[in-house]
Symmetry: C2
Subunit: 652 residues, 2 copies
């Protein structure tokens, strides 16, 4: 466990240019046309045959010599002798002479001698003769050989991404196998004694390997082929063997074990090859301990173990290389301008890539930095729409500052309904019913508690905010909204939630009230600050503190678990169920769902704040209809209750 000092950090730009200078070249393979969708053609294709290969009839009817029909009219037909019949796929050696006709199907080859086709509609057949009621010009209803594609024409250029349409052209030419750029093969492995493959059993101190899956799927997205070699323990021999195995592939990608400390081995092992490690440490956040190496001209990357860092570093440094090799080329990722929604402190001297959640408001998009990504929270990436790039020299980014957001997905998928506020299971039920009415409805639920919901409405970013804020006057929501000066919205009364203390089955500690939680030194799990439930709990605690003549902070300091913040009712219930806590404040619904006991405190009014400007839109009206429907009333779980005020609209 010796201390390892990093070499000098290189800048993001230097690291990128090192990756660009890798002398790797595209490979070419021949694949079957049925598997060619989305692949990139590796050479120009010229037509080897005419399409169609022969003069074809474009109609069902009679092949004729046009001159024979010149006299034909609706009321004076011309009579021709039928000397044969020819269907699609047939071939007739007969040569048509004046006065003769051959019955012909769409797609059949025009017989020798014939120079036009009369459509069936304008003919009548009897006794081996056909009457023609309309004249045709030479060439009529014939598609000439090569008129679609002439042999020798350049039909598909190198670099074309194959869609069903180009695949159609190739198949028309009889090409069953097409030369495309090979998918670069990328060997992927993870290192770390703590890692277990998903699906396996977690031992003590172990976590599931995330990077293998996120990286493999990203490689696939970039047109590469990922091969997972497994998880290497923090053991030099094991890692060395893994790398030797990885040398069979085009690119080597490992994650974990790159920080200076106990598990750092990758660096030294990668440097055993020539020319070895090129970059050890990049002035970037997250992802500083990244390694870039060249093992006998094979590019190798050592990514950080932290899943968020690993994926960001992948997308900035590795993805362009794989796209170059796969032929997909530079990613044309969508970029969007957005205003920063909160102040951000960046680290000086390092380029920062900050994942953000995009929310569209009245003045364009706001970017909410996603929390927890420094510590490696995987949810931080899943919740984010893209990331912003804060240059190395910038230390503070202010609220309202404009940034370009690089989106993670190729398409922009703005939600039709943006729901920002407090979480409730009833909300999930409403949206399940709403989705029955609007099957393609795209909605995003950001759980930031009631106060966060009000702010989002004020900024014009939310379409609906679920709130349940209890005022000291014992009235829900309205006093708060007045205090916050919310004027651009209406409050729609929602439903009642039975609120209380969730305890283990049988209530082993005999808890009857909030006081009991303190008296009995109960281990609790709290809710996140800003949530209605937290406010309710704190209100009870303030009352108790006052009664006792204690300071609020003093009182809460004594409560075990007061600082542990669950983000939802379910999480509170699960914590109690698993014995991590003895009690928590929550709603009856969830307590019942998990088979736990429940001590009711009071009914809570869970209401919806909706911007005035959006209230009359079709989607919000559908939401209103669902809210006041019998269907919802029947679907709500126990503990949630439609009451006489449900659907009442309060102007603010």
């Amino acid at each position: 466990m010796s201390k390892k000092v990093f070499k000098d950090l290189v800048s993001v730009e230097e690291a990128k240019s090192i990756v660009e200078s890798f002398a790797v070249s595209r490979k070419v393979e021949e694949i079957k046309l049925e598997n060619a969708l989305g692949r990139i053609v590796a050479r120009d294709y010229e037509a080897g045959i005419d399409v169609p290969p022969f003069d074809r009839s474009t109609m069902d009817g009679y092949a004729v010599i046009a001159e024979d029909t010149f006299e034909a009219e609706e009321d004076s037909s011309v009579k021709l002798k039928i000397v044969g019949r020819i269907g699609a796929g047939d071939f007739l050696e007969v040569e048509l002479k004046r006065g003769e006709a051959i019955e012909i199907s769409t797609g059949a080859p025009i017989p020798k001698g014939a120079n036009a086709v009369v459509m069936e509609e304008y003919t009548a057949e009897s006794d081996g003769f056909v009457r023609i009621y309309k004249s045709v010009a030479p060439g009529e209803n014939i598609m000439f050989a090569g008129s679609d594609i002439m042999a020798g024409e350049l039909v598909i250029r190198e670099g074309t991404v194959l869609s069903p349409r180009e695949i159609g052209v190739l198949s028309a030419l009889g090409i069953a196998e097409v030369e495309v750029y090979s998918k670069p093969k990328v060997a992927v492995f993870s290192t770390g004694n703590e890692l277990v493959k998903p699906g396996g059993k977690l031992g003590k101190g172990k976590i599931y390997d995330v990077n293998a899956y996120t990286l493999m799927n990203s490689i696939e997205e970039d047109g590469g082929e990922a091969v997972f070699l497994g998880i290497a323990r923090d053991n030099a021999d094991e890692i060395r063997k893994m790398i030797e195995q990885a040398l069979d592939y085009d690119i080597i990608l490992c994650s974990g074990g790159t920080s200076a400390g106990a598990g750092d081995m990758i660096y030294r092992i990668l440097d055993e090859w020539e020319p070895g490690v090129l970059v050890h440490g990049i002035a970037v956040r997250p992802g500083k301990p990244t390694i870039i190496a060249s093992l006998g001209n094979k590019p190798a990357f050592g990514l950080p173990g932290n899943p968020t860092s690993a994926l960001m570093i992948y997308s900035i440094f590795v993805s362009p290389l794989i796209r170059r090799l796969s032929g997909l080329g530079e990613e044309k990722s969508t970029e969007i301008e957005a205003k920063l929604a909160v102040k951000v402190f960046s680290s000086s001297g390092k380029t920062e890539f900050l994942p953000v959640n995009l929310v569209s408001g009245e003045e364009g998009f706001s970017a909410y930095p996603v929390s927890g990504h420094y510590s490696g929270a995987i949810t931080s990436l899943a919740e984010s729409d893209g990331f912003i790039h804060i240059p190395a020299e910038k230390v503070i980014a202010e609220v309202g500052e404009r940034f370009t957001v690089k989106l993670f997905s190729e398409e922009i998928k703005p939600a039709d309904l943006m729901v920002i506020g407090s979480h409730c299971i009833g909300l999930d039920v409403i949206f399940r019913l709403l989705r029955k009415r609007i099957p393609d409805l795209r909605f995003k639920i950001i759980n930031v508690g009631s106060s966060g919901g009000i702010s989002a409405i004020k900024r014009g970013e939310a379409d609906i905010a679920g709130i349940h804020l209890l005022d000291e006057s014992a009235e829900y929501n309205v006093p708060y909204l007045k205090r916050y000066g919310v004027k651009n919205a209406v409050l729609v009364k929602g439903y009642l939630r039975e609120q209380g203390i969730i305890v283990a089955k049988g209530n082993p500690l005999g808890i009857r009230s909030v006081e009991d939680i303190i008296e009995k030194k109960t281990r609790i799990v709290n809710r996140n600050r800003g949530s209605g439930t937290r406010i309710l709990f704190d209100m009870y605690l303030k009352e108790i503190a006052e009664k006792r003549g204690e300071k609020f902070k003093e009182l809460t300091g004594k409560i075990k678990g007061y600082t542990i913040e669950a983000k939802s009712h379910s999480s509170v219930a699960v914590a109690v169920l698993m014995g991590k806590a003895d009690a928590g404040i929550g709603i009856r619904t969830v307590a019942e769902q998990y088979g736990l006991d429940f001590i009711p405190l009071r009914g809570e009014e869970y209401d919806f704040l909706i911007p005035k400007a959006k209230f009359s839109t079709w989607k919000i009206q559908q939401f209103m209809e669902v809210l006041t429907s019998d269907e919802l009333s029947n679907s709500l779980p126990p503990g949630l209750k439609i009451y006489k005020r449900t659907g009442e609209i309060i102007k603010l």
Copy 2:
């Protein structure tokens, strides 16, 4: 071969609603996470475990009891006894007591008793003790169990399209297999005696099957799984057997054999099942003879044999059904407003879907209808960017009329350089060199001849137009441009092309001049109207007609093949090579390429018309550099020649 009368045509809207009413339901399957990219999650996923599952260190350093470090400062350290070391993946039973520390790695579980981690940077170890130079607060450098995801949290909603980020969340939860919507299995077969599978040998009267490949790849694009059953001959037993086999799948899709005529059998066979055929004929162009049937509640479609029609009908009627089943939902295809570039006559009473090529000009996009799609030209689809929808009641669509173009590709890929005009092999060479300088250059070459190129420049749609128009004054290009009133562009002199008559090796007919072509009743292949070569040929012919006192039309009427229009020089050469024609006008380059003989007529000035407004752009300047480079001079094939005027800029 009896006449078959169609049932009443149904409207596009009726047909769509019949497809919508198919009572088919999504199936669910469990797949491995490594194969889950882009799949749609079939249920809500709640976390079964906390992530991380235990309190973890986020740093390398020492696990301590925070209270022990409160006195630590840079110049006055606190000394703690090291009672153990713990790496990531390890687990230690020891419980830390006051005055003790445990060396800990990033990711390792916090030992019992410890409540903070001091970073290694602020420590010094010796003789079994560690000196701490900085105080830490309780909880510092610890990521608490469940702080990323708490057990019980809803993490992935039903309907989520899996990207690497959501896959990361699932793997963090140890989920190795995920429930997704199954890809609907679609049985595909083609019918027609004339069809041969690509890769096979074409017999007389046969063509390659196109629909199987375009449809299979389209099904894949829509999230389905296509299974190709093969090609059925126009034989009731064979088709019936194919359908019986197809009933094992979710949807049945066949093409060909649907028109009323010789090969029509599909309709009657599909009607042998209950409820059988629901739609036979839709008021749409192309694709009227489409069949929609239900075979014991299994949706079946009979698409036209014409590849363009088949693919259009697929995308309008079949694709939505497959996307509904696959979970991909309604296609959010990009739509663009465009002005029609030419007048279009539509058929009354039928909805028309017209494929168009989009070109961006000064006033937005122009839509050029792609020719040849009625006759089933496969190139017409490959060349088009999307299609416009002309309502059934509309008969004429005027130039400049605005239409919404539904794009074929999800992304808009406007070309960086739009090259509209006459085709030349030299142009291909220039763009090959240009692409060396700008690897990601996207260019589109639309071959519409010199006159078409001038119109495109006038409308601001082309960035470069290759032109070679010979005036009666014997001057190239400039007189024409003046006559056309082109003012918004400059003319850049290009290179010389040796122009002449291409004849078979050894010149078996002894052709020495254009007169010989007429005298010797030579079978020719002509070039398309508007092309410079066609104008040159016609000029020679006009001279000859005048000399002879004949009318021009009379003269050309005598030339065999005068109406057969090849779209490129290569096609002319191939026609001569294959003996389809004895002679054609073209350039030496191509004659030599195909080993043919060449009778020179005159040197032709192939120049470039470039809009003034775009002339100084970087990409055009790169083009200019290539044009005047030695590299081009050395790369041009025989017959094309850089000369002293190359690169000269003429203001108009």
